[in-house]
């Protein structure tokens, strides 16, 4: 507790406050931008809404639905209507999923958070481990293997990795389910089933994020191993273990902290693809659907959510960096 109290809470709070204020215009601009882009897209919300029935519907019928959905309103009007509603806590109704936006997000975000958190933690742990191992003996066989594997994976798109994993584990080996949250015939989501179904998507998402952590840690720790404090520690005869863990790792991991923040958007895009490949019932599937059917309320809410996640990720990494390296401070 005493150590917690010693933390520079004041500056950290001020930084958080500043960022929160800054977030307001950013969020406004982003939502307006999303409305504008979606309105300019060739997708027709009424066509998406009516589905196959729309192919035989009369034009009068379709026009009436267009009016009922309010999509014949001008862009700014719709945005203002959405904004004022959202500020009073009413996020509107999703036209494609036929449910209130808050319900759509509520039902799905838990699964997305579960998937992303698992993948992120896995990527950080494995990435740090492999990075440190590679950095200890630069140029060794292990280092070269890890580094070249990391570069290869960096170039591989997550959906391709996903399809590859499905082919290998679900079709060839038959050890893991190919998709979904639970077995098809089962209505109850048991922990065991979910655990089995989350393995492949989480693994693929983690692997797609892994190279960044491996390469950053390898670089950071490798550089730190050649700095004066480390040489000094070695000269004093400290054990290699102490040198690595107490000295090199501490300064070498600093760049990784920034990375955590900046990887959040990548994680979100990665999740988008991975959820689609594995029919994971998270918010990604909803995002794709919202975008292609110009479902404004859902699209706007999801964009706000993603933007907020990115802003929070950045704030978090800046706070951590400030704590780890007092020279940086909390003014940035």
């Amino acid at each position: 507790m005493s150590r917690l109290a010693q933390l520079p809470w004041g500056p950290m709070a001020r930084m958080t406050g500043r960022r929160a204020l800054l977030a307001v215009p950013v969020l406004l601009a982003v939502t307006l931008g999303v409305f504008a882009v979606a309105a300019a897209a060739p997708f027709d919300p009424v066509k998406a809404y009516a589905g196959t029935a729309g192919l035989t519907a009369s034009q009068e019928n379709l026009d009436q639905i267009r009016h009922n959905l309010g999509v014949d309103q001008p862009l700014l009007g719709r945005w203002w209507h959405w904004l004022t509603g959202a500020l009073t806590g009413d996020l509107g109704d999703s036209a494609t999923l036929r449910a209130p936006v808050s319900q759509v997000i509520g039902e799905r975000i838990g699964w997305s958070v579960l998937l992303c958190a698992l993948a992120f933690v896995l990527a950080i742990i494995v990435g740090t481990l492999l990075g440190v191992l590679a950095a200890r003996r630069r140029g060794s066989l292990l280092d070269r293997a890890v580094t070249s594997a990391a570069y290869t994976l960096e170039a591989a798109p997550p959906f391709w990795l996903g399809l590859l994993a499905v082919w290998l584990f679900a079709l060839k080996l038959g050890v893991l389910p190919a998709g979904g949250l639970t077995d098809t015939g089962s209505e109850v989501a048991t922990a065991g089933q979910i655990a089995r179904h989350v393995v492949l998507p989480a693994l693929v998402l983690a692997v797609s994020q892994l190279p960044w952590f491996v390469l950053y840690v390898r670089q950071g720790v490798g550089d730190a191993l050649e700095e004066d404090p480390v040489r000094g520690a070695r000269a004093r005869g400290l054990s290699e273990r102490t040198v690595l863990l107490q000295h090199a790792l501490r300064s070498g991991l600093l760049p990784v902290l920034t990375l955590i923040g900046s990887r959040v958007p990548e994680l979100i895009t990665g999740a988008l693809l991975v959820e689609t490949v594995f029919s994971w019932p998270g918010i990604a599937a909803a995002t794709v659907q919202a975008a292609t059917s110009v479902d404004f309320p859902l699209l706007a809410a999801l964009t706000v959510l993603a933007t907020a996640a990115v802003l929070v990720g950045n704030l978090l990494s800046d706070l951590l960096y400030g704590l780890a390296d007092p020279r940086v401070g909390f003014d940035g």
Binding site: M12, N61, G106, I109, G185
Partner: protein
Amino acid sequence: MTARSIRSAAAAALAGTMAFGAAACSTPSDGTGGAGGAQDSAVVGIAYEPESLSPLLGYGKDGNSKIFDGLLTHDADMKLRPALAAKLPEVSDDGKTYTYTLRDGVTFSDGKPFTADDVVFTYETILDEKTNNASKAELDALEKVEKKDARTVVFHLKYPYAPFAERTVLPIAPQHIAGKQDVNTGSFTTHPVGTGPYILTKWSKGEKLSFKANPHYWGGAPKVKNFTMAIIKDDDVRATRLRSGDLDGAILPPNLAATFKSAKGMESLSAKTFDYRNVTLPTANEVTGDKAVRQALDIAVDRKAMVDGILDGAGKPAYGPVPTDSPWFAKGTERTHDLKKAEQILEDAGWKKGEGGIREKDGKPASFKLWYLAGDKLRQEHALAFASDAKKAGIEVKVESGPWEAIRPNMKTDAVLAGGGSPADPDFDQYLLLHSSLAGDGFNNMSRYDNPKVDKALVDARRTDDKAARKAGYETVQRELVEDPAYIFLTHIDHLYVVKDRWKDLTTQVEPHDHGLASGPWWNVEDWQPAT
């Protein structure tokens, strides 16, 4: 902000997130899950997911909705049978009044009784302009619905409409639930309650629909107690999951269905359909608008080769919206593939061979664009086969693909590889396809065909109850399409299903173009009987 307030805010946020996460992660369960006996549960793979489960928004309008019943229903031979009605309707002599007597003692799955008020509510809500139902034009003939007494409902029509009874297979929604919420966005659209043989237990959008048998179903409790429809858009994935035992049945394209031919314990079923593929011939285009070009294309295409090559034999050549084995088909309107005659027709009309074998008339090359829906392999193959046949007659067809968003603005002048078909009554698809009043209206009459003779025959045939007169009317339409083709019809496509042989005597209905949840051998899953 002080440090303390930050900490408590953070703690509150954390607690909130955890509570939220816990709520989000709880999945509804009612204890019926888990595979019991092999024969009392079935899992099938389908390709299309309904947009909504509310009959008020169009769900189940052609019957077989599982969760609901209509006043009438279709049997295996597509004959109308009473369902929520006690018997077939009484039709007045002028064909404008339909009187239905309702079945006694039917309850919704929440235990509340089904009454005449529910029928009136359902039809009135669908026709309400605030209701976002894209199929309401199908009830265009309906003027008003009237509750005569607790067990009698009378439909008054604006004009005599012979196939009206076919429309009353549409499911009845409970007024005491659906009437209390927003028709477009209320929870009824995703958590429906009906009188049908099954009760929806869960709809995981994009993944599956789970049902359990309604033990109090008026038609008797179904033998298949747990029924799941997995939504798997990709054909290959669906086939793989069927092979791995994850599914008990699935719809498959011909090439994948063939791989199950010799599979042990699997039965293949082929459903006859009204599902056609055709090429629109926009009248506003100088080439496709020329009657000679239409006639030439109509006999230049080799339909038999398409059935054999594209469909692996699982289909029939199509000469019009009516398949050749339907009682409505006009005998003698089969076209013979005759390239020589096609070329003669073009020569006579002044389309002379120019450079590169492409014909010309008045300096205008015989060339037009043909769109197909991107990603639809079947349409792509039809489009390419059509283009290659047309080329042989000296007509250049430039095939292009795109989503409907890209195709729609070009439909007035470019040809489109389209599909459709509705088996219940010839009026259902032909009026939309051919009547000049619907030219260019949405996706109806995409060719913008305008033929007074056809218009008259279509209207006469829908307004008389006399079966012979109706048949004569639709024969006139089909013969007129030989003289002046509105579209080039290519094939009628069989729908193929593969099911484990755990149930006996499975059947299929004659299926429409849209074959989602209501089609397939599971059209009557409530009647399935174990094989042993």
